[in-house]
């Protein structure tokens, strides 16, 4: 009898554990239910039924996203009888997650696209729905709102797969520097390689505690190349050490291993010897912007597009009002500027979408309806932002405000007619106006590289670059010439020539098909 009692007790323990497992499973069912509901939401023809759209954005969600989501859902339910769930991928492994989202067949209704998220190659592989027939039916206002030449520019294989953003901006880079220090020590404006070096020397001599250059990870090379050559790519980042000049795009040469390359590397070596870089520059993980904002460095050479520069100015104004920042856009050195390509910011409907028409109708609201647009770009008026004399004004500061300007990363549905700028953004718009004067079309972004023929070589080359080129870029190698030779040798072993040949071929084909001389 005693025995049996114990058995029962133990059995009940097992049962309890199982129940616990059951509770876990139930939790899961509870939250999974909403997703299922959207699947059962039914066909798009039936406008009466309520569906939940799955909306995917890159990056991290702002703190107040749930508030915005419920506000948007109130509007969307009344207008279109839809609900929207905003999902964010986080910046960790976003590219892998993006791949999984698109290849797993998970129901997604709207997803962010851009040239840097490989819009073209996904479109070619059939990840997105063609919108040509859907647009006039589901979103006539949107179709009319976006100019025709933009619709044409985003076409892949003669079909539209993304809704482009109509706001024209420049993401061309420039040199951001401490203007107040320049005035204080009467230094030259850093507007060419020589004056830049003189400026850096002046900073080093007068501010011994500063490390003049903020760029880590050997990024400054992109900036220097934009300062000294007229490359076809706005950001100066041509892959595999190639040189393509804007005026002669069909003529491709190798920058790596050239006399110019050696000379540049010698410059970096000299800079390191003079103490322009920190000793552990390859391991510094702080962003160049934060180093500039905190007054630890005086110059940022890479990645400073007008937007980012403006963010620096705002930050510096609030923390160190006595400082001044100066800006020299690289287009001024090159003589021309390229505005962003229409595929730079957009939204596509993946093939797995259960409600493409409703998704497009909702996206139309997001772009063309001021209520939706303001809510998703700036938050709740009065709570997150205020409008003062036509300017955007954040309530509180970045720490207390749960939804900063464009906090949802809504770069793609910016609408120039509704856009609110921070007062300080006037400076950016002024820069844009200047750049407009030397505008030339972007001929690079339309090109989609297909690296499948040399995938293995590409991976190997990346390793070689990190191991042998990065130390050269920051002058950590004693003998520059020998170092460059070693790098070239290793790069060739990794398959550099094969990559360059194949890339050149693809580029030439693109030039021919796009009709560019």
């Amino acid at each position: 009898m005693r025995m049996r009692n114990k058995t029962i007790r133990h059995l009940s323990m097992v049962l309890a554990l199982m129940l616990f497992a059951g509770v876990l499973a139930a939790c899961n069912n509870g939250s999974g239910g909403s997703a299922q509901g959207s699947e059962q939401g039914g066909s798009s023809e039936n406008k009466g039924e309520k569906v939940t759209l799955q909306f995917y954005m890159l990056g991290d969600a702002p703190k107040d996203l749930p508030v915005i989501e419920s506000e948007i859902n109130k509007l969307a339910e009344a207008d279109l009888n839809v609900n929207v769930k905003f999902n964010y991928t986080s910046w960790t492994d976003w590219d892998q997650k993006y791949k999984l989202l698109l290849s797993s067949g998970q129901p997604i209704d709207l997803i962010f696209t851009a040239d840097w998220t490989f819009y073209q190659s996904y479109a070619k592989k059939g990840a997105f729905l063609p919108l040509d027939e859907l647009l006039p039916k589901a979103a006539p206002t949107l179709k009319a709102y976006v100019p025709d030449d933009m619709w044409n520019a985003v076409k892949v294989n003669e079909k539209i797969y993304t809704v482009p953003s109509t706001w024209t901006e420049y993401v061309t880079e420039g040199i951001a520097y401490r203007e107040d220090l320049r005035e204080k020590y009467n230094l030259s404006k850093p507007e060419s390689l020589e004056t830049l070096e003189a400026y850096l020397e002046g900073i080093k001599a007068n501010e011994p505690n500063m490390i003049p250059i903020a760029d880590s990870n050997a990024n400054h090379t992109h900036g220097i190349r934009q300062l000294t050559s007229k490359l076809v790519n706005t950001a100066g980042q041509l892959p595999y050490g190639l040189d393509i000049m804007y005026d002669t795009p069909s003529n491709i040469t190798s920058y790596w291993g050239s006399a110019q390359h050696l000379e540049d590397l010698k410059t970096y070596k000299r800079w390191m010897d003079k103490g322009f870089f920190p000793k552990n520059v390859l391991n510094v993980k702080d962003t160049s912007n934060s180093l500039l904002q905190n007054g630890k460095s005086a110059v940022v050479l890479s990645g400073e597009n007008p937007n980012k520069f403006n963010a620096d100015v705002i930050k510096v104004q609030s923390t160190h009002p006595d400082w001044k920042l100066g800006y020299f856009p690289y287009p001024n050195a090159k003589g021309f500027a390229q505005p962003v390509h229409p595929i730079h910011n957009g939204f596509a409907i993946p093939r797995s979408s259960k409600n493409p028409e409703k998704a497009l109708a909702f996206y139309e609201k997001l772009v063309t309806d001021k209520r939706y647009n303001w809510l998703t770009e700036y938050g709740v008026e009065g709570k997150n932002f205020e409008v003062q004399d036509g300017y955007y004004k954040m309530v509180g500061d970045a720490q207390t405000n749960g939804f900063p300007r464009e906090g949802m990363n809504g770069w793609a549905w910016r609408n120039p007619e509704f856009m609110l700028y921070d007062k300080s953004f006037d400076d950016v718009l002024a820069i844009f106006k200047e750049l407009d004067k030397m505008k030339k079309p972007d001929i690079f972004t339309g090109f989609a590289e297909d690296w499948t023929p040399y995938q293995a070589e590409k991976a190997a080359l990346e390793q070689v670059e990190k191991q042998y080129l990065y130390p050269l870029n920051v002058g950590l190698v004693e003998d520059v010439e020998a170092g460059l030779n070693t790098f070239m040798e290793k790069a060739k072993q990794a398959g550099l020539e094969k990559i360059q040949t194949e890339y050149t071929k693809q580029w030439q084909d693109y030039l021919k098909s796009a009709g560019i001389q």
Partner: protein, 279 residues
């Protein structure tokens, strides 16, 4: 010799510790030192300035670790016990089935599709626990351990005394397999504590991030701003932690799990070797 080896193991940790107590300026300017040159608590102040998110992530990780380890131990010991019973007819077939999965995996995409589309586990706590519950390696380890620690005769005699299989499991096997349980438990706990990958794939809600992923993501955002944002024209309005803050975070994160070792360690060596040698 051993002294040198253990020094080599301790030095990286010391570097982080001293980094967390250094002022950020000194790290940026002079790099890391074994002892802080410019002592400062700024890093820790930053970590606990806005503690809600860190604490939430902490909570998620503690929850998944405790629940996952408890559940996983239960399932693994059950499986190990059953698989080593000679009177279980299909034990070879099942053993092979489990062993087979260590050799051939379906790959990332099918795994993702299974969990996300068929089980609908996106954004649930289950997804953080479920995939790590049973590991073939741990089952095999446990099976071999139980086989060596519990003689067949003991099970037989328990049977003669009238015990059924569950009673044998609870009263005999579990008690004799303590070292094995400690070993497997430590493996499981470490696995759950260090897990960031499942969060990265399946969790969209920031409140449900595991601690490791929360930190990893913060670091990645910094790298992203630095590298990707160059040609993208996007601005991210986030405050990025500085060097000393990152080191302080690392200490805060690794601290608790470090205390697990001394408690389990005495079982650890025994459990691992017995399981391994008789493999």
């Amino acid at each position: 010799m051993i002294l040198i080896l253990s020094l080599i193991c301790i030095i990286p940790f010391l570097l982080i510790l001293s980094g967390s107590f250094s002022s950020n300026e000194s790290i940026v300017r002079d790099g890391y030192h074994l002892f802080p040159t410019d002592f400062s608590l700024e890093g820790y102040k930053m970590v606990f300035k806005f503690p809600t998110q860190v604490l939430k992530a902490y909570g998620v990780t503690v929850f998944t670790t405790v629940v996952g380890t408890a559940l996983g131990l239960f399932l693994i010991t059950m499986a190990g016990f059953v698989l080593q019973r000679k009177d279980f007819k299909y034990r070879n077939a099942f053993s092979f089935f489990i062993y087979f999965t260590t050799l051939f995996g379906g790959g990332l995409v099918p795994w993702y599709i299974m969990l996300a589309n068929y089980f609908n586990l996106t954004d649930t706590y289950t997804v953080l626990i479920f995939p790590g519950l049973m590991t073939p390696f741990l089952i095999i380890l446990m099976k071999n351990f139980i086989r060596s620690a519990v003689p067949d005769e003991l099970i037989e005699s328990a049977k003669i005394d009238g015990a059924n299989d569950f009673r044998i499991y609870f009263s005999v096997v579990l008690k004799l397999a303590m070292p094995g349980i400690a070993t497997v438990g430590l493996f499981l706990a470490l696995g759950y504590w260090n897990d960031w990958f499942t969060s990265s794939l399946f969790i969209n809600n920031p409140d449900m991030y595991q601690l490791q992923f929360y930190l990893y993501n913060t670091m990645n955002t910094i790298t992203f701003i630095d590298q990707m944002a160059i040609g993208t024209g996007i601005t991210l309005s986030q405050d990025v932690p500085t060097e000393s803050t990152k080191m302080a975070m690392a200490i805060v994160v690794t601290g608790p799990i470090l205390f697990l070792y001394p408690f389990v360690q005495r079982y650890f060596v025994k459990g691992l070797t017995i399981g391994a040698v008789k493999g």
